[in-house]
Subunit: 324 residues, 2 copies
């Protein structure tokens, strides 16, 4: 068997926009391979120009349809667009649910649109780390817009969407009570609210309810001078797409030009630092688990020591290891 191409050799090809090289680097990022780290560091250093947009919404909100529509439109405007979709994934079988990805296959014929479903397993830090490294690959390769799409349920999933410059939360009319309750928990992270399916007769109530909540100061957090707009859209007739694009551009300018925007970019970097550290912690834990940590966890299971004592042993023990 041929030796795999070293990751560092893939970097110039990825920077030149070669899809296979980009895809391989993303695969190695997902695997968390130590060999890929210098390559990913080079890409990180070259990234920073793309407008990263997080799109999230509860199941049934129409967020995947919105992402497809948005990607096609930005592409038609001459932009190269990347989409990183975080799939619910199995902790065991490695299965990922492609579900609504299928709708996006039509987009996949155009090399100016790159779509990747991430199915990262293992640590939660790993899912965030690898997804944002995939964003770097696209960013460094010159994709002007990168969309991170996550399901708007689950602490880890919502956090990843928040690591974008511009966060869009998609609401829709006609969802059940259970879903609505979950939805309320993510509204406040929105820089832009989209109400999809606004062709439906009950959409006006959804829009009205949302505006009422925002006017009452619910479902929003202070974000400098930015007031999160509500944009009704319809995938049927394209309603609202122009307005959405305008709001995205307006928010991108706000992020670049305002002090709160620059501070938020620094906080996103903080988040990455923390998630990468969490993942390193997890990887080193896996590397040491056949060693003395087995003894520690067995003593913990026997309740001879406490979880904090075991955790201290884990954090301290890591320093006994050589870095990979």
């Amino acid at each position: 068997m041929a030796q795999p191409v070293p990751s560092l050799e893939l970097v110039p090809r990825a920077l030149a926009g070669e899809i296979p090289a980009m895809a391989r680097l993303m695969t190695r990022a997902e695997a968390g391979s130590a060999e890929s780290r210098p390559a990913l560091a080079q890409l990180y250093a070259r990234a920073g120009r793309a407008h990263v947009i997080g799109v999230t919404g509860v199941p049934g909100s129409g967020k995947s349809t919105l992402v497809s529509t948005l990607a096609l439109r930005l592409r038609a405007d001459g932009k190269r667009v990347g989409v990183i979709a975080i799939d619910p994934s199995s902790p065991y079988s490695g299965g990922s649910i492609m579900g609504d990805r299928i709708r996006m296959n039509e987009l996949a014929q155009d090399p100016g649109i790159f779509i990747r479903s991430m199915a990262t397993r293992g640590s939660q830090g790993g899912m965030a780390r690898a997804s944002l490294e995939a964003v770097d690959v696209l960013d460094a390769a010159g994709y002007e817009v990168v969309v991170i799409e996550t399901v708007g349920v689950g602490q880890a999933e919502v956090e990843i969407a928040r690591a974008a410059h511009t966060v869009i939360v998609v609401s829709a009319p006609g969802l059940g009570d259970d879903i609505q309750a979950i939805k309320a928990g993510i509204l406040e992270i929105a820089d832009i609210h989209v109400v999809s399916k606004c062709d439906r007769s009950d959409a006006n109530r959804t829009i009205g309810d949302l505006k009422t909540m925002l006017a009452m100061g619910m479902a929003s957090i202070p974000r400098g001078h930015w007031v999160s707009p509500v944009v009704p859209t319809s995938a049927l007739d394209g309603t609202g797409l122009d307005d959405l694009i305008a709001q995205i551009e307006r928010h991108g300018a706000y992020m670049r030009e305002s002090a709160p925007g620059r501070e938020r970019v620094r906080r996103i970097a903080e988040f990455r630092m923390l998630k990468t550290a969490e993942d390193l912690l997890y990887q080193r834990y896996l590397a040491t688990r056949q060693g003395r940590l087995d003894v520690v966890s067995a003593r913990l299971a026997q309740r001879e020591i406490s979880p904090y004592q075991a955790a201290e042993a884990l954090l301290d023990g890591l320093h006994l290891e050589d870095h990979p």
Copy 2:
């Protein structure tokens, strides 16, 4: 103002089953207070007798109704029952969605049933750590059964349910496609499958589909000699509750008496060690962020260093700090 009661003084009261002392220790666990750690360590050492049951399911699956019914029934059988419900919670406002908790208020009149909604924010490690510490409080106080209820979407949320001895995944007929796709990702963690709402005319199809998937080896992982049963239930007429209780007891015995069961208890301890270490990492990061880590994250935001370099600085920097 009076000094707060030291956590160590609350321990004997919690062990005696005094609800206010138990609740205060849980609140301190949620806050991650260093002062509470020795007390929580004492409770951990005294715990280990309760049967911990994880119940998870997608929104609309009827899992909260099942948990209520199950808790009332176990209570009627003379057991003391604790319920720890993990709520989707806001990262900012501190709001937690009580939603279906309201249905359980009727249970709250009986001191033999203790219900706690956890709305832990901050790190994902913190949510797992605090929830399992709340389980310890109940376990050490002599509650024979403790149910951990989580929404079956989100990597962090599903992981917590898996930290139980017996995992029940609740399915229901009549859910939408988006929800079904998410559901598929959690089926394999089930030791026991419940199909709720089996009074509905379309329930037989849901049961049949599930059994077909299981027979094909999909949606299941090797778990020693345990074959995960499918239990149809109805909250309307109590169908299936006897069977469910019998299956829970059968699985509890399997966990106690089999080698795979004992190995799983050790792996649950490993999970706790890791989540507690993650949370310690996060807490120390917060404690140091006004210091040199601000400089590190600013350099990261400027892309002068890579996320891995920043993460190494974070992990190494933690050792410069005194422990709290």
